[in-house]
């Protein structure tokens, strides 16, 4: 699936959503020169982690995260990074039709064969849900034979109970360091987590680097 795509479109609301969920498969594809566009809808300006002592303010955070996103895109080999300037935590309050149109316009322009987003109903954050709904609806409106495949990331606590195991599991150990670099680029969000993980590795916790070795997705199929 990740070897012969025409164009890949990633749609997420926050800088770092991509690093956690799909940096590995994205890097595998950019290494094969598959064109990838990342549409990132907000700058995560409502992020809570400001540090104590603080390294940022509510007002300086967006510019910090914009730079982090650029670095992460570089680490993943993404050349077409688009920032949409919506406000963090407000996506679900935007006009639903406007959100669908935003995605439809991207699909019309790029003609992607694969779209990566969140799994509706199982993506926890209201911005994730609203983004995923817009993507799924935009694709549903297309002619069946023209639709790109959607692969989606779900991580709600009840995801496996209700959806079963992910349809696709990808071994990303070959690009593990690139994924780590993408996560590290989002330092304002991930520094504490990476520190925690390193601590766990010292105590030989076998779960410590699952997120650097495997990525998992559900394939969203439209009935008609």
């Amino acid at each position: 699936m990740f070897t012969d795509q025409r164009h890949v479109l990633i749609v997420f609301p926050h800088p770092d959503d991509e690093a956690f969920s799909c940096a590995g498969v994205v890097r595998q594809m950019t290494k094969r020169n598959i064109p990838v566009t990342y549409a990132c809808l907000t700058l995560g300006e409502m992020g809570r982690n400001l540090g104590n002592p603080p390294f940022a303010t509510r007002e300086s955070l967006p510019e910090i995260r914009r730079e982090e996103l650029r670095k992460a895109a570089d680490a993943m080999g993404i050349q077409d990074l688009r920032m949409f300037g919506l406000r963090d935590k407000t996506i679900e309050f935007e006009d639903d039709e406007k959100m669908v149109q935003l995605v439809s316009d991207l699909i019309d322009e790029l003609n992607p064969s694969l779209v990566i987003t969140f799994l509706p109903g199982f993506s926890v954050h209201p911005d994730h849900e609203a983004t995923a709904r817009a993507v799924v609806e935009a694709v549903r409106r297309m002619r069946k034979d023209e639709r790109p495949t959607i692969i989606a990331v779900g991580f709600a606590n009840d995801t496996v109970d209700k959806m079963g195991l992910p349809h696709i599991k990808v071994d990303i150990t070959d690009v593990k360091m690139d994924k780590l670099a993408a996560l590290q680029a989002h330092a304002s969000q991930t520094a504490w987590m990476i520190a925690e993980s390193e601590k766990r590795e010292e105590t030989a916790d076998e779960l410590s680097d699952n997120w650097l070795t495997t990525e998992a997705f559900y394939v969203i199929e439209h009935a008609e």
Binding site: N49, L50, N52, P54, R58, G85, W192
Partner: protein, 116 residues
């Protein structure tokens, strides 16, 4: 931002009194609060760029601090303020950062609107 110096913060709050100002007020325990702990009832509130004028503003000395603004017809207050700064645009940014450095509350005052 630095830890609140009560006397200095009080002077800054006084300086915005009786002027039209834009307010950012936010409380949050994070969008993932109920994901990490299903016993958490997740609630928060957010307003940004509401224009108002206060006649009296007060920071109370308990730490973390409470900051209250008395308006002609009402009130604004924030509880849990730990840090503050005046940024390069002359805006007074106050925040309550929890023990892990995560923002729990913010109250910001500016004579010009905050960005989007």
């Amino acid at each position: 931002m630095e830890l609140v110096n009560k006397e200095h913060l009080q002077q800054l709050i006084d300086a915005f009194a009786n002027k039209d100002v834009f307010i950012h007020l936010e409380t949050t325990n994070g969008s993932y609060a109920a994901h990490f702990n299903e016993a958490v009832f997740n609630a928060g509130a957010f307003i940004r760029n509401v224009k108002l004028r206060y006649e009296l503003g007060k920071v109370v000395s308990d730490h973390p601090h409470r900051v209250g603004l008395k308006l002609e017809h009402g009130w604004v207050y924030a509880q849990g303020i730990t840090h503050y700064e005046v940024d390069e645009h002359g805006r007074l940014l106050m925040a309550g950062l929890d023990y892990e450095g995560k923002l729990a509350v913010a109250l910001q005052i500016s004579e010009t609107p905050f960005a989007y």
